[in-house]
Assembly symmetry: C2
Homo-oligomer: 210 residues x 2
Amino acid sequence: MILCDIGNTFLHFYQNGRVWKERADKILSQFQNQEIFYISVSRRGEEAFLKKFPYAISLETFGVLDTAYIGLGVDRKCACMAVEDGVVVDAGSAITVDIMQNGVHLGGYILPGIASYLKLFSGISERLKIMPNLSLDLDLMPQNTKEAISLGILKSIVGFIQEQAKGKRIYFSGGDGKFFSKFFKNSIYNEILVFEGMLKAVEKYRESRL
Amino acid sequence: MILCDIGNTFLHFYQNGRVWKERADKILSQFQNQEIFYISVSRRGEEAFLKKFPYAISLETFGVLDTAYIGLGVDRKCACMAVEDGVVVDAGSAITVDIMQNGVHLGGYILPGIASYLKLFSGISERLKIMPNLSLDLDLMPQNTKEAISLGILKSIVGFIQEQAKGKRIYFSGGDGKFFSKFFKNSIYNEILVFEGMLKAVEKYRESRL
């Protein structure tokens, strides 16, 4: 069985605990006689994917999460489905922070990702066009523009996640997930969180076929 | 005596507690036999200003702050000079957060301003191009993208300032200063903070002439 999480630029594949990614416009993988399940947040990526794997099965309607949130992306939904109690953080171009309690999704926040912050500062003023230092100690008192921006970004994101977690376990995924997880004692970096949720959706799919 | 704080687009004037602003490229005020002191963070604004008031006196070298911070803008320096103990927040296109203790500047942070956050989200994804609702209750659990972004921005900024303040008094100025001050019990909105610091610099100037 193959799982695929389709984004705008990349397709993320999963098979027996192994993960890899491929460009949506240049899919190399070949699968013979294998079930393929997928979710997608990209119309374009999905079209390219289905051209290559027309028999793939969408898990869209089987990613079922107990939530009042309107418009939760299917990837975010699957990541949350993998967590019974805790805070689910996907740190990429945007940072999503979702709160799970007893298997119920209580709500979630969206922050800009680190790369977006940097682009932003260079847009405000020439003086703020600075390559930040993200390895600074959070307890340092900033003494120049570079430190002021670096710690402004870092501490506002880290402090925000800490505040929402209120002692709960924090599950990180996404490109900057590993980086952020090191700031928290009670955290796990789990790059296959979305796939764990997709496996639950596959179970729901199988139940529906009985 | 007139004070002027020169920015890129606007000149901010002060006379006997009264403040007003004028476009740098269209200065209307006329002053007869009056001392004029100024600070500037804009070369272009300063040139236009000095063409009209060639006899104005720069307070640049009299804005003296006990700090190890390299490259603190003169306007930020003057605002800090006005505060003995507390947190000085200038909330505009960027948000600066400076920590004063016993008249000493311990350091400072720079965050994006609210307007910059919004521009930023629209750059990440079409889905995030949303006019946020900044009047939401901070305790609300976001249940859609608009609330997720609005409260992500608000809570990360407010939480960050709260964390740095550690119970100290918070002095707000800048275009969004009044808006932010309402989230804090121990805060003051003071739009003439920079001018209060400039008045101290004028004293230093007078002492130097004795």
